[in-house]
């Protein structure tokens, strides 16, 4: 098959306009075979619209789209056979059991693992005969994943797979997705959790207001802001005493910003920036009430690019 050399997904100039909003504003994307590609962005960035266009659920106003070398206009039936889809917020029928639900979805596909194999893949063996209505949020999400896997898809779409789950259920789901990755599947995943994107994706596209504002491996993206660490501190009653310009002049500090009384420094060299900061605070007589540092993350990339956080309420 000559198609193996081509990207699994190839998007050019994709645009989707709703009555008064431009949901997707001319994006280009290539997703390669065998990679897990993350679309990261805040709610309303256009991630779901993008992914639903790829899934054939929405049609774009402009742009071209090729999936596995096929197009929705010509090969819709074939594409549906070869894509695995997990939608945001689908509630599967509550009165059916896990096994019944999987058997139903399995019956739509020409080939794929047996229902029992799929149940084992998502670790729902114990819940095989439980009604969907009795499952926990994490179990439902794993069942939704199972329904996306029954056709042994060449390309798997996961739209916000862990939204609304507790930390333990999220971690369990991450483990599952990581196992699909090692099995060599191509995965496209949307999320507004930077840790999820960082942990699972080989490459990440950061989306905001319908546009892709950054694209690369998580490491490349973090490196692109030229910052290794972030120092956050609070100083009681001293917020007015310290000006951002003075902080940015400190040795090893690249940018400073203040937010809700917490000051945030993006630093290139932690070992020079922290002593310089402490000295500056001591000089001004401002007592330190909080000090945290972390390695720069995709969240910091987003903040740097947009001035906002990923999860702004």
């Amino acid at each position: 098959m000559g198609e193996t050399s081509r990207p699994a997904l190839c998007v050019r100039g994709l645009r989707k306009v709703y009555e008064d909003v431009v949901a997707v504003d001319g994006i280009d994307l290539d997703v390669y075979r065998g990679e897990c590609f993350g679309l990261l962005g805040p709610n309303g960035a256009g991630k779901t619209t993008t992914i639903e266009i790829c899934e054939g659920l929405l049609s774009p106003n402009a742009g071209s789209l090729e999936i596995l070398g096929l197009t929705w206009a010509h090969d819709a039936a074939e594409l549906r056979q070869r894509l695995g889809v997990q939608l945001q917020e689908t509630q599967l029928a509550e009165k059916q059991t896990v096994a019944e639900t999987i058997r139903l979805f399995r019956s739509f596909y020409r080939t794929g693992p047996s229902p029992d194999e799929v149940i084992a893949m998502v670790q729902l063996e114990e819940k095989r005969n439980a009604r969907v209505g009795k499952l926990s949020g994490g179990q439902r999400q794993r069942l939704a994943m199972a329904c996306a896997l029954v056709g042994d898809p060449d390309l798997l779409f996961l739209d916000e797979p862990t939204t609304g789950l507790d930390p333990q259920a999220r971690r369990q789901l991450w483990d599952l997705i990581q196992r699909f990755k090692t099995a060599g599947r191509t995965i496209i995943l949307t999320t507004h959790y930077m840790d999820e994107a960082e942990k699972l994706s080989d490459r990440v596209a950061i989306m905001d207001h319908g546009k892709i504002i950054a694209l690369g491996t998580p490491r490349e993206l973090v490196a692109s802001i030229g910052v290794d660490h972030v120092v956050e501190f609070a100083s009681e009653g001293a917020a007015g005493l310290i000006d951002l310009a003075a902080l940015e002049r400190l040795d090893g500090v690249k940018r400073a910003r203040s937010e809700d009384g917490v000051l945030q420094l993006q630093v290139t060299q932690l070992h020079t920036a922290v002593p310089a900061l402490l000295a500056e605070l001591a000089r001004r007589g401002a007592p330190l009430s909080e000090l945290r540092t972390h390695s720069a993350t995709l969240e910091d990339v987003f903040v740097t690019l947009t001035g906002r956080h990923l999860r702004e309420e």
Binding site: L57, T90, E100, Y109, G151
Partner: protein, 347 residues
């Protein structure tokens, strides 16, 4: 890893099984479809069972009058003072009050819009003629007929069946489609390779088998317990039920074609069904409504269904003789179905 189809069976049979399970695992649905119509038929059948011809209670102001009136066995005459009699008449304890006049004549007080009053008047008049010694000018005798098929229960059962076909046809398809749309399950299904026509067909198949059970339960009960007649061949009744059920299912599909919430669907369903509950002759004949309304009433699908069921069950008319009614039902089926397909939204 790859294995062939066949483990899970065909998707049409899987989809149909889902429909069955959705129904049987919902106890309320089972109650409303199967148990409720039987309970209703039983209750109404008992309340309106045929009793021996009623004896009408009347009042008379003198002993003489009462004695004369008692010669008629359809009347039970009681001697009352005029004031008591007036009160008994007003409150409906008696249907007629006979007062003697000083001239020797009789005055009958009764309400001529009340059938019992009119009957009592006729019987009383006849009794007085006989009491005066006059014989029947023409020799006559009574030959009584008690026909099954003319009782209230006989009228009621086809109406209940029609109402049930409407309810289960419309709700059966409408509710679950709106529910699946609300839960974004429809959207999930069309993202899979499922054939959309098979989704619709699964409703059709489950409806057909459910229909069989539903009709058999109600008709079986009515025939065995109340001796309601079934005068046309069973296949003709089955054909009428099938056409009716498809028609109401199409109407349900139409109602459900775009609605996003269960509340809106309930409102719309009731808006569509309520006029038919009232006008279509479920509990009493649709002909009781004024003539001006009749064209509207006769065009309602449930009216056509009820008329067809009564014609088949009670009169044993062959299908070609109720062609007009069947054409109305078929028209509703086709029009609703095609509009529904045009309007239908999967998301």
């Amino acid at each position: 890893m790859k294995s062939n189809r066949g483990i899970a069976g065909s998707s049409l049979s899987q989809l149909t099984m889902v429909r069955y399970r959705e129904f049987w695992r919902e106890p309320e649905a089972v109650f409303w479809v199967f148990v409720f119509p039987i309970l209703l038929a039983a209750g109404l059948g008992i309340a309106f069972r045929n009793r021996p011809a009623d004896v009408l209670k009347i009042g008379a102001t003198t002993q003489q009058l009462a004695a004369a009136l008692r010669t008629e066995k359809g009347l039970s005459a009681e001697v009352l003072r005029p004031a008591e009699g007036e009160k008994a008449l007003r409150t409906g304890h008696i249907s007629l009050l006979a007062l003697d006049e000083k001239s020797g004549g009789v005055v009958y007080r009764y309400d001529d819009t009340n059938p019992d009053g009119r009957t009592a008047r006729l019987l009383a008049g006849y009794a007085m003629i006989r009491a005066s010694g006059v014989r029947d000018p023409v020799p006559s005798r009574d030959d009584l007929v008690r026909e099954t098929g003319a009782r209230y229960i006989d009228f009621l059962v086809p109406g209940l069946l029609g109402m049930n076909l409407m309810g289960s046809g419309m709700w059966g398809i409408g509710f679950s489609i709106v529910d699946a749309r609300r839960k974004k399950l429809l959207k999930r299904l069309i993202a899979s390779p499922m054939r959309r026509s098979e989704y619709l067909l699964s409703y059709l198949f489950s409806r057909l088998t459910m229909l069989l059970v539903e009709v058999a339960a109600l008709i079986g009960f009515a025939v065995l317990v109340f001796g309601v007649p079934l005068r046309a061949p069973v296949w003709e009744l089955a054909a009428v039920c099938l056409l009716s059920s498809l028609s109401f299912s199409a109407l349900g599909l139409l109602v459900a074609s775009r609605v996003q919430t269960i509340e809106a669907a309930s409102g719309l369903m009731n808006f569509v069904m309520l006029p038919m509950w009232i006008f279509s002759g479920v509990f009493f004949s649709a002909e009781r409504f004024p003539n001006a309304l009749q064209p509207f009433i006769q065009a309602l699908p449930l009216t056509a269904v009820n008329n067809s069921l009564r014609a088949t069950m009670l009169e044993g008319l062959p299908l070609y003789q109720i062609g007009g009614e069947l054409a109305i039902i078929a028209a509703w089926l086709l029009v609703s179905f095609f509009i529904a397909l045009k309007l239908f939204r999967w998301r």
